[in-house]
Symmetry: C2
Subunit: 270 residues, 2 copies
């Protein structure tokens, strides 16, 4: 019996490169069965082939090495399963975004520029039931769902004075992290859990309507922004969204209507 499989032999058996095996060792993912203390040579055994293949598969699924390590060191099969399925869900979400990007790209490249309906609107100050937080762009969708549910629960029984809405700091989009506020205008805004009354200041808004799902709402933002600029206005402050018709109102995405509004001010005429 030799001291085991050399790294090169093991690379042949697993279809991994020698460099990659060394990296996995360094990362603690796959420690050689033995290491010659004199030469530093790594020696593997045939029992290490299956774990190497699991790592290979997880990497094919773009799982970060750190997470692969977490899976390998987890003894409990259920916890491991949970880690894997959560990663697969992430892949699924990404796939959705990819599909949406394809559709949106096709629309962008189509030359027909239909009219964009924009209205300027002076909104008075009003006090609403709101949840506000500092959120990063990756988490904002989950945060929104959660906050809206809590808001609905807290505002149940209070007279509704209009559709719900949100206010999103521009930093959320430009640096990926910013303050987000979701609200529901109700009579006598309650204080309950994260929900608290909030007074939205009066603003002048340039408003247009986005139809359907939000995957390509940035295009509508861009078109609204272009309109604003071309009408000698300037953007000033966080964007406002009003969920006139959303998934809680109609199951059909094509029925959804989101008003988006950018606070603007008139540039002093030259």
């Amino acid at each position: 019996m030799r001291s085991g499989l050399s790294i090169g032999e093991f690379a042949q058996l697993t279809h991994l490169s020698v460099r990659t095996l060394r990296r996995y060792h360094e990362a603690g993912l796959l420690t050689p069965a033995s290491i010659d203390p004199a030469s530093g040579y790594r020696y593997y055994t045939s029992q290490q082939i299956p774990p190497a293949q699991v790592i290979h598969r997880l990497r094919q699924l773009d799982m970060p090495l750190a997470e692969v390590g977490r899976i390998l060191t987890t003894e409990d099969p259920e916890t491991r399963e949970a880690l894997i399925t959560s990663h697969l869900q992430r892949l699924e979400v990404e796939l959705d975004r990819t599909r949406a990007a394809v559709v949106s790209l096709r629309q962008l490249l189509r030359p027909d520029v239909e009219q964009l309906d924009v209205r300027l609107c002076s909104l008075p100050a009003r006090t609403v039931a709101a949840i506000s937080d500092l959120v990063s762009l990756d988490d904002v969708l989950a945060w929104y769902d959660d906050a809206m549910a809590e808001l609905d629960a807290a505002a149940a029984g209070h007279k509704r004075l209009g559709p719900p809405g949100g206010r999103y700091d521009n930093e959320l989009f430009t640096i990926g992290r910013g303050r987000v506020l979701v609200y529901r205008p109700v009579a006598d805004p309650p204080t309950l859990g994260r929900v608290a009354p909030e007074t939205l200041p009066a603003t002048e808004l340039a408003i247009t309507v986005h139809h359907g799902v939000h995957h390509d709402i940035d295009v509508t933002y861009g078109r609204l922004g272009a309109w604003v600029v071309e009408h000698a206005l300037a953007v000033d402050g966080p964007v406002h969204e009003t969920y006139v018709c959303g998934p809680r109102d109609d199951p059909e995405p094509q029925a959804w209507r989101t008003e988006i509004g950018w606070p603007v001010f008139r540039l002093s005429p030259a």
Copy 2:
């Protein structure tokens, strides 16, 4: 009229980060409409919002910046369309691989280790019709399809003496590039185009059968490799595949049978 939109304003309008806009400028993807020669400040116009959004979408589809640049500078819409669809096809291929990796991962994690049938087999030397080339791992699938078609055409009319096969250098898998040979055993091997007679030397092979599509054939290789090691043999030379039943024989992937064989030699007993 001001000199245009500052990079920060433009970042707000497009939901891109300032850093990213600078990078796109540097890469020649989106040159600001004007640059103040004194300060170096970049100024954009509202007409640049749509191209910025196209770039954004292409990047969401993981298209490399260089290719995005190629698309943007291409005037001809058909060529542009071709570039985009070819990228989408790449995404589709990757998606297939991802799906296959998920299935294979599940199989790897299932604890039931069914028996692996391996036979040792002394293969005599024989002369076959073959195509051989130095191929990189990324191209090997396309190369294989192409070469097999040419081989079938050249060997048509010659009496077939067995199923087709291939021989793959280990370097193909370990460093991603290696010599590949596909062959068909026929009477009187012809010389035609890339096809030439080739004499495969006699070898001792450890052979097992892989069932179905090849996405997870590396697992079978690993299991065969483990068997070889555990039987005090050592791998020696390029791997052999014999396509006993393939897509040209049966449209159903679960009927496919690929014999894989590793040249082995017996380690001198201690």
